[in-house]
């Protein structure tokens, strides 16, 4: 039927019906619930990654905007108000020069030309957006698998209802 998605999430199998005893049906229902729980767990993990990217992408985009703005206005000077702390702003005179410094984390800041910085940030942004897109694909795939398992559950459960009725007759 279906295959794993590009990140190797296993597909949910559509349950093909045959005669079942009540015991067999109960066994299948338990397996379906286990499968749903696993998919939900994976979903939680992917949602967390999406939230992280949703934080990171705007930061990269803002930094890229700043670099592009300075690049477009080489040689100009500006009075800039920036955040020194959460509740404190400061003014500075900034001249749009050829070079900028990018904070790379781990107490490292590197000097780049504006062209290099723009290229680096653009690549980082594109990469993060590709990852976000893949995560969204994973979420859609996971949703489809949960749907399959929920329908499997409903069908087998309805079957047990019929079995119980027959037993009473």
């Amino acid at each position: 039927m279906s295959s794993s998605n590009p990140r190797g999430i296993p597909p949910a199998q559509f349950f093909e019906f045959k005669e079942l005893s009540m015991e067999e049906a109960q066994g299948h229902l338990e397996k379906f619930q286990e499968a749903i729980a696993k998919y939900k767990f994976m979903e939680t993990s992917v949602v967390r990654r999406v939230a992280s990217l949703d934080d990171k992408i705007p930061d990269i985009r803002k930094t890229l905007q700043s670099v592009q703005f300075l690049k477009e206005r080489q040689g100009d000077s500006f009075t800039v108000t920036y955040e020194l702390n959460d509740t404190l702003n400061a003014k500075a005179e900034v001249e749009a020069k050829d070079n900028v410094y990018l904070w790379l984390g781990a107490n490292v800041m590197l000097e780049y030309t504006v062209e290099e910085a723009e290229a680096l940030l653009t690549q980082k942004l594109n990469s993060a957006e590709e990852t976000l897109k893949a995560c969204k694909e994973d979420l859609e795939f996971l949703r489809a698998q949960v749907t399959t398992m929920e329908v499997n559950t409903a069908r087998v459960y309805n079957y047990t209802v019929l079995l119980r009725k027959k037993t009473k007759m």
């Binding site: 039927m1 700043s66 500006f78 009075t79 800039v80 108000t81 955040e83 859609e140 329908v151």
Partner: protein
């Protein structure tokens, strides 16, 4: 009443419907957010249109990234214009994607309801 048997093909249609339905809700939210941003920019442009270039101290600062740059009025208006155009493009992309999905959603609804009738609810 008799239960209509669910086939693998029905399951695939149901899955596709479920995914498209969720995607639609997310995209509607995204469009709403973008429109709010566009409204803010239009308001800002309207405010700036009332200014003269000579109102040096009264020209608002332009937000670039996380900082606010004091720029001339023409630069400010130009940046606002660019931002608005960029956001409008994003809205257009989302809208056309939603329109394509909507066609498929209606096809799937039609197929599923014609088979399952009131045993299923797709709204």
């Amino acid at each position: 009443m008799e239960q209509v048997p669910v086939l693998a093909e029905d399951q695939r249609n149901l899955n596709e419907f479920s995914v498209l339905h969720s995607r639609k809700a997310i995209q509607e939210l995204d469009i709403k957010n973008l429109k709010t941003q566009i409204e803010d920019i239009v308001d800002a442009k309207n405010e700036c249109e009332l200014l003269d270039e000579d109102d040096g101290d009264d020209i608002p600062a332009l937000k670039v990234g996380d900082a606010f740059f004091q720029v001339s009025l023409p630069v400010l208006l130009d940046q606002l214009e660019q931002s608005e155009e960029s956001l409008e493009k994003q809205v257009d992309v989302l809208r056309s994607s939603m329109e394509k999905d909507e066609t498929r959603i209606q096809e799937l609804k039609s197929m599923l309801y014609s088979k399952f009738h009131d045993q299923i609810n797709l709204d």
